[in-house]
Structures are given as structure tokens and as C-alpha cells.
Symmetry: C2
Subunit: 413 residues, 2 copies
């Protein structure tokens, strides 16, 4: 087993220099990295073929194999992603605020990098490029640990990007792809003293393991058991359009709708809603009352209510009142994205005030919880925790601040 | 042993209502609480006498007994502290930023309370009132666990403040003084699922125990092994004045200076500096070179360099260069407050860029790292971590944010 301590020390020393690099050096490196991806696309596809073959032998599902797969289009997307990061404003050096103390000391609060960030992720090899790009632009070193099924692809992408970055003046050692494929290496990483932060990107199992075992601060991202509550006064056509969009437009993502709550006096629209969902390939599950009303609905089990399907499945529950819907969401939701569809001003206000989540919607699809949709550009995930960052995590959230106090002899009276 | 789960659930339910209270209700409560402290001062002093008697029997040091002691002046300070918190702006409801999506969705990021906060503290009973006041004003519930030596005083203050708060419309149960005096109850508290955050206020031992064992996010406050580096070009008179102020003005606090680093070409001023410190009652320790130069200095041991004395002790080390001083500070410092005294523009820039700490000073005493000095008003401590909050932790840092998205039927294309 590798000893991550040496890698961690190397990365930490290197990223102390990275923290001070001018923006233009980082942007040049990002553009050179994009170019390298394009020029050596074939090497990446070959490495990916090895992973796909191993994956098929190991009996991975088609959906997992699809996530794992690289093709020219996906490599190009990684390259343009890095170029987009180069175009984003650099948060490092931003003066958040500043003022002068009565005694003349000039105080300013300045954004600085966090230091060394650990990123633990599964399946999709494009995360390797995204995470390296975002950490580099925000002046942070990064230690990456991808899933074992994508080992060859991740190593190939990482090697390529490291070479391109270091050739442009990024301090050697800032980017570390952690070798090894066992869980023990993950355990080492999440207790590594050099890390300022660890970000798990993946399923609920990975996130739970990291939050429970890490001694490094964790930025929890991604689990979204998102609800849409159809209130009594919701417009049925709009409700159908929004629920359909939030469920089927891209079912595998964390801001997709997983549950519909519907007020008991709005249930007349249920048969049509269920039909439209089923016609779009959605398996619809429901509470007893829903099943009684629409017999084609499959009875939901207790486990359904806190499951994030990430698939063409949706569960419906009929509720007696808006407060009941709010309590249900605060109990079973994952504080990601929650929506109310209503024509009532009072209900909209009640819902947005009382639902405890990163993003609370009125009369819109939950699918807008996204760095690009928010205008932040590329993001490293959606934070569902309350501390440090909540919602889409962009470049500023990958920094901290430092107060600089410039005096000329001041002492405290 | 008490089961904190029930207390936690009660507090969590109550603080969901507190989160929505208008500012004026919270301010009225804070002023009523101040009044109650004044009116029932005698009850508090009686409870405190019990703690002092037990403390003397248990052989507590005079300095600990002094921290434990309440007198009319200290009770009045608690009362005015609550009134000051009432005058601070309420962070809850502040719109941090807001904009409109291309598709017309109105997005705004709004400050909301964190939820339920755990505060674990030692000795000083005034922390009970400060912590309750700050949590209440920021819309958070609070579960307090004070040190066993102040058990009677803390319970008396807390009971009094709870009665006064609840009588003014603060939801009953928002404030919980955790009973019991053993470490097992602390262990329960720092793993309680209802808490959004735990704040340890006390010595390095308490903070280490909490950060290592908590499953709740921790806001680390307070350990300050602060350095002042006297560069070659520092003005000797100013250096003497600043070091003396940072060490002796109030030696028991976290922003007091604990170590002086001095450039080898500035050592001519050492004998006078040592003399002035010793005349002010400071025990001066030093590296071998310092002792060789000023024989009255006591040789420092390896343990000195990472010790926060919180006392009239200071250790001096002679260094060969500014980069060596910076590396030393980044290695032995606690990322609290670090200062350079210099006449050189380049050295000042190098130091402020490369020293990794919450507050980095040029030519001023480290004693200004403080919520009041920063103009933030009352603070719950100085954060020495990088995530969520760094530096003085005031009311805004006790909140999180929520995005509210108001649409009229938008779906994602």
C-alpha cells in the first residue's frame, strides 16, 4: 500500500507556490491542458477501452458502462470545460471588504486558496479534468482518487494534464492522482493531515462513508431526494409540464425530481399526470391513496420515501395540507432542491420560509440548481450542507479568506 | 445519565419557530434578559458563591477562581453585552445577492439561521450569557455545556435568561443548558444528530477533543500561538512598544503574542527588549543564540515553540532570514494572528502573502484580532479554521444561506 503522507507533503509544498501564481499563468496552463486533451485524444480513448473491457468482464451494467465511456465528443467536452474555467474570474486576491480602524490600521479581507483539496469520485472520468481545472484555477493543489472501474482512464487524463500544466509553470506536484484501488487508500486520504478539505462526488454510499470517517473537513455534495409539491391552487397544465421536465429531462442527476406531493383537493389531475409520466417511460409509485385513485400506480414501500432513484422512477404522495407537505419535505428531503407549485401568495411564502434546503423553488422545475444555470460557470458539485457553502459550489467556494492589517506602530490601549 | 436526544428534539422543534421570528421580538427579549440579570443579580452571586466554595475545596488555582468569579461589575458587563447584541444588525433575512435568470426566474440568496448550535465551554460563566445572546439574535437554538466548576453559576444564568426570553415570545425550548458534569455528556453532545454546528470555547485540550470526536461540524476557535517577527529594518522603539503591548496588555487571551522571532542583524536591540519585558513581569525564554546574547533569558525547550502560554511568558528565537521566519510561523503557528515589524515594502508583501493565518499584521500589535476592534460587535470567538468562517466570528457567521427561486412555469430546455 502506498504511503500518502509523502504525496501529501509534496503536494502541499507545491501548492504553497501555486497559491501565489498570477491568474494569467493559471489560465495559460488551463488552455494548454485543453489543447493536450485534443491532441492526445487517441491515447485517452485507448486507456478508456481497457477500462470498458475490464468493466464488461466484471459485469458492470450498461448504464455504468455508459458513464464510464469516453468518446471524441466527451473528450472535447472536457477540453472546452477547461477553457471555460480559464475564462471564469479568478477569486484569489479579491478583496471581499476592507475598511480603516479608528486608529488608522488598514484592514482588508482577501480571498486566498484553501490549500490542498482531496476529491474522491466514482465512474465518470470527466470529473478528473473538471476537478483538476477548478482546483488549479482557485489556486489549490488537488489529490484525486477515482473509482477503480475508471482507473486507466483517470490515470491517462491526469498524467496528460499534469504534464501540460507543469510545462506552463504550474509547480510540479500540485496535482496528484492517488494510486491504488482499495478502500484502505480512501481511508488514508480522508485522514490525511495535509488536506484542507475533502469533496466526495458520487452516490449516497460514498458520501456517507466519507462524512462518517473523515477527520478532514468535508464538503458534502450531491444527494438529491427532491420533491415537487402540487398545492391546491396549482395550475394543472403547468404542474404537468414542470413535473415531467424535472423527472425526465435528465433523470440521472441530483436536481431531478424524485417525489411528488399533491394536495388532496388537487388529486383530480393525478390520472392525467400519471399517464403522461408513464408514457415518458417513468415507473410511477405511490402511497395507498394514490394507488386507490390510479390503479396503474405501483404501491410504494417505506424505503421509497427517502430513496434518490437517479432513474426513471417517481413516487407520489397525497397530503392533507401544505404544512404537512412542508414537514414531510423537511423530514425526508436531503436539503437539496424543493419546489412548490401554487397560485397562492401565502402558500408560496410559507413554503420558501419553512422548507430547509439549499434551493427552494416556486413554480419552476428543480433542474435549475446548477452552477451554469446560476451563472457561476463550472461547479464541483451542489453542496447540501449548511457550513461554508450551500448550493452550487463554484470557484469562490474553493477559497477561504485572510485578513491583512497594515499599521504603522498601533498598539491596543 | 441524561438522554440528550429528547432535549435535542425539543430544541430543534422550537428553533424552527425562532428562525422565523421578527428582529424586534428577538431584540425585546435580549433587553428583557439584560434587565433580568440586573434585577436578580443577587441570585447569581449566591449561585456563584457555591461554585467558588467548591472550587476552593477542590484546590483550583487563584487564576481559575478569578475566571470563575462573578461580581456586580461582571454581571453588569453580561447585561450590557446582551444590550449590545440587541443593537447589532440582524443577519437573518439579508439578501446576500440576487439576480434574474435569462428565462425570468428571480433568484435570491438569503441569510437564514443554521439551526441548533452546541456550545461547549470552560470556566468563565459570562460565556453562558454571550453564547445565548449571539445564538438567539442570529435565530439559532443553543445547547450549552459549561465546565463543571461553574455548574451552579451557569445553571442560574441560563435559567434566568430562559425565563426572561420565553416571557417575551422566544419559543420555549430554544435554549438548553445541558445537565451533568461528566465527559460522557460532552461526547453525546458532539455526536447529537440535531446539531448543525458545535463550537468549543476553551483551552487547546477541549478543542482537540471536540475536533477529533465530533460527528457534527465544528467551528474551531481560539488557540493562538501568535508570533511577532522583528525584521532587520524594523524600528527598534516601535518594535519594543508593540511586543510589550502584544504580550502584557492582556496575556490571558488568544491574540496575545507568545513568540518573538528576530532577524540576526536586528539582535542589537535584544538586551533592551528583554529588559523591558522582564521589568513588566514577563518570564523571557529563548533559543541558544538568544541566551548567549542575553544571559538572563531562560533556555527554551522544544515544547516551548508550539505552546500557547496565555501567561506572562514569552520565547524569543533568532532567525537568519525572513523566509526562515515565514516557514517557522507556518510550521509552529496556529493560523491565528501573526505580525511582521519591518521598514521594507518587499518584506511586508512577502510576509502577508506567504504567512497562512486568519490575521496577518504589518507594524501593529496582534491584539486587534477581536470582533469589537474589527467593528463586528460581540463575537463568539476567533476562528482558526479555513472553512465557513476565519477570524472573528460574529452574527453573520452563525448563519447559512438559502437560494429562493421564484418562477412562473419555467422548465429546463
Amino acid at each position: 500500500m502506498h504511503n500518502l503522507d509523502t504525496l501529501g507533503q509534496t503536494a502541499l509544498t507545491a501548492c504553497q507556490e501555486l497559491a501565489l501564481l498570477p491568474t494569467q499563468t493559471k489560465n495559460q496552463a488551463l488552455r494548454a491542458m485543453a489543447l493536450a486533451l485534443r491532441e492526445r485524444k487517441q491515447d485517452l480513448l485507448s486507456a478508456n477501452t481497457l477500462d470498458l473491457e475490464t468493466g464488461r468482464e466484471m459485469g458492470l451494467t450498461e448504464s455504468l458502462l455508459d458513464r464510464l465511456k469516453l468518446n471524441p465528443h466527451r473528450v472535447e467536452a472536457m477540453a472546452t470545460g477547461l477553457e471555460e474555467i480559464a475564462r471564469l474570474p479568478d477569486p484569489v486576491g479579491t478583496v471581499v471588504r476592507g475598511w480603516r480602524h479608528d486608529n488608522g490600521i488598514e484592514i482588508r479581507q482577501v480571498r486566498v486558496p484553501l490549500g490542498l483539496i482531496g476529491v474522491i469520485y466514482e465512474a465518470r472520468p470527466n470529473v478528473t479534468a473538471d476537478a483538476i481545472g477548478l482546483c488549479l484555477k482557485s489556486g489549490n493543489g488537488v489529490m484525486l482518487k477515482g473509482g477503480k472501474e475508471a482507473e486507466h482512464s483517470n490515470q491517462a487524463i491526469s498524467q496528460l494534464l499534469q504534464q501540460a500544466a507543469y510545462a506552463q509553470g504550474i509547480p510540479t506536484g500540485c496535482i496528484q492522482q492517488v494510486p491504488g484501488t482499495d478502500r484502505a487508500i480512501v481511508e488514508q486520504l480522508i485522514t490525511l493531515r495535509h488536506l484542507a478539505l475533502v469533496i466526495p462526488r458520487g452516490g449516497a454510499g460514498l458520501i456517507k462513508f466519507v462524512t462518517e470517517n473523515s477527520t478532514v473537513p468535508v464538503l458534502e455534495t450531491g444527494v438529491g431526494n427532491c420533491h415537487i409539491y402540487i398545492a391546491a391552487s396549482a395550475d394543472p397544465d403547468q404542474a404537468q409540464k414542470i413535473v415531467l421536465n424535472a423527472k425526465v429531462q435528465r433523470p440521472s442527476v441530483c436536481n431531478a425530481c424524485e417525489k411528488v406531493l399533491i394536495h388532496q383537493s388537487a388529486v383530480a389531475q393525478l390520472p392525467a399526470l400519471v399517464q403522461v409520466l408513464q408514457q415518458s417511460g417513468v415507473q410511477v409509485r405511490g402511497c395507498e391513496r394514490t394507488v386507490a385513485l390510479v390503479p396503474s400506480v405501483i404501491p410504494a414501500t417505506a424505503a421509497d420515501w427517502d430513496t434518490e432513484y437517479l432513474d426513471l422512477i417517481l413516487a407520489i404522495k397525497i397530503v392533507d395540507s401544505t404544512p404537512v407537505a412542508i414537514d414531510w419535505i423537511n423530514r425526508y428531503g436531503t436539503q437539496h432542491s424543493e419546489a412548490i407549485l401554487t397560485g397562492s401568495y401565502g402558500e408560496a411564502q410559507l413554503f420558501t420560509q419553512r422548507v430547509d434546503a439549499a434551493c427552494v423553488y416556486v413554480n419552476a422545475s428543480t433542474r435549475f440548481t446548477d452552477g451554469f444555470e446560476f451563472g457561476f460557470g463550472a461547479e464541483i458539485g451542489i453542496s447540501t450542507q449548511k457550513l461554508h457553502a450551500r448550493g452550487p459550489v463554484g470557484l469562490p467556494e474553493l477559497t477561504t479568506t485572510k485578513y491583512i492589517l497594515q499599521g504603522n506602530g498601533q498598539i491596543r490601549p
